[in-house]
Symmetry: C2
Subunit: 309 residues, 2 copies
């Protein structure tokens, strides 16, 4: 095999109570990438369509992640990367993670899979580090593994793929404003009350239990965040209106995707998720900010191979 074309899913990180630890992969939103073996050693990004992004490998998240993988193997061969970017950078649904994860996934395939999907996570994290200054795993883990993932610990890195009930669907509204991850992180408090902490880990416990028992009602009750949402939602125009609209439309829960500005809701079933999309659409019409809405089932598989040759 000399080349592979992959679908790299968008992802939702910081799922409500699961700030910094819980993420999930989407099915209907994502980039495409083509990875090819090349006679020229090293990583070259030959083409990027859909967005203006650096072609220099050491300035591109896909390039940096790919180089981290080759370094670990001490591999002297070369690869070319083409990126068809459909996820907008800065949207809060894992644009950089998709590129970083796609690069390491594709090259790993072309090298006959020296690494498991789990083992690829640290290389993809190098791409995240370039993008946001922090080598976080809560987008690259679901992009690579699919479904809901938990980053239990960073030192040592310990990532768990959780059970994901099949009827879970996501609705995402992306307001076309810029919220930089670094800025969004800066406004967080470095200390929280013990009381809020207890509520948060109670909800994480409830959410994980709900995922395993496929108890949608429990999942919904657990989708609460008393720590980050009250602060970050200030940066998202119309957040409260979206929250109320989605609850009225029957969503299980709603929250900020990643560090925003995208807002996500989870629903049981595609029909419900579409009704939430309608409710989002109506509620946001008055806000005066252009927006896009996506509806997607949860991607249980992660990155998918579309073609190989």
């Amino acid at each position: 095999m000399d080349a592979v074309k992959v679908f790299c899913p968008a992802t939702i990180a910081n799922i409500s109570c699961g700030f910094d630890v819980l993420g999930l992969a989407l099915d209907a939103v994502g980039d495409e990438m083509i990875l090819k073996k090349s006679a020229q050693p090293g990583i070259r990004i030959t083409k990027i369509t859909g967005q203006e992004l650096p072609l220099e490998a050491d300035k591109n998240v896909a390039g940096v992640a790919a180089m981290a993988l080759l370094d670990a193997l001490d591999h002297r061969g070369g690869f070319e990367i083409e990126i068809l970017k459909k996820i907008k950078p800065g949207s809060g649904i894992g644009s950089s993670a998709a590129s970083a994860a796609g690069a390491v996934f594709g090259i790993n395939i072309l090298l006959d899979e020296p690494f498991s999907q789990q083992e690829l996570v640290p290389f993809a994290m190098e791409g995240e580090k370039l993008a946001s200054g922090v080598a976080h795993a809560d987008n690259v883990a679901p992009a690579l593994l699919g479904g809901f993932t938990l980053v239990r610990s960073y030192q040592p890195l310990d990532i768990i793929k959780l059970n994901t009930p099949e009827e879970l669907h996501a609705t995402i509204l992306h307001p076309q404003i810029e919220v930089k991850t670094a800025d969004s992180r800066k406004i967080l408090k470095t200390a929280i009350s013990l009381k809020d902490g207890i509520r948060q880990w109670g909800n994480v416990g409830g959410l994980v239990a709900g995922l395993y028992t496929e108890d949608y009602d429990l999942i919904g009750r657990s989708l609460e965040d008393h720590i980050v949402e009250p602060i970050r939602s200030i940066l998202i125009p119309g957040y409260e209106a979206l929250k109320q609209a989605s609850h009225k439309a029957g969503a299980l829960g709603v929250g900020i995707s990643g560090s925003g500005p995208s807002v996500f809701a989870l629903s049981k079933g595609m029909e419900q998720a579409k009704q939430v999309a309608d409710a989002f659409d109506k509620a946001y019409a008055d806000v005066g900010v252009p927006f896009e809405i996506h509806v997607s089932k949860i991607n249980l598989q992660g990155i998918k191979i579309l073609e190989r040759w």
Copy 2:
């Protein structure tokens, strides 16, 4: 039926990362109680053996919990309670919870079960309020429901019975010193760092996932507490020695039971739990504080009926 004799299990609350939310019930340690219908209205505690505790119903946790139940039903009948106390008050393994839970469980049986076990929790919590000033649920919930329980939320009260792998066993060392719940609560910080919070809810997610997937290794990795243990362990002589000894002996994890002074370890299998007991025994010999050790499987059922007549 006019009378019932029940076994009321000891419980471990504040299980490592699950401070204030995660508890479990024990099988080999507990009180016995006899509840009898009486011609005289109200609650009377007729006998307490094993410990010196108040016989006045309104000063006794069992009495207060029982009265809360009767009030809710507006029930005018009467009940007599006998308590054979085997769990030492102040040991940190749910002595007051056992009495409160046993009282409401037994009376509920004698009244033909107007309430589910879940619905009994708030009445038993009234007993806890008398005992410690805080109506906490993390001991009474596992006492009533069995296994591992999660208090997801207090407002509204939302308690989830989690899956409990059958091979899980507990080893408990009870140093014979007094640590008052109220004092042990006072030394806690009211604020924590966001960073420690994230580690804590990552571990809660991992622990709950481990319980459902019966992944003992994941359970072990998740039994971490960077928030409460570093503070409360100061009050427990020899804590660090116990921790090291139990890890060496193969325990999955170790922590402070409730607000102490008891220390618990979880193990896979009875054999391992006994080896941990031996390690505890050796490690504590030098500390110079008298102690008791219990080994128990996890009680999956909660309070048990021993006899009825």
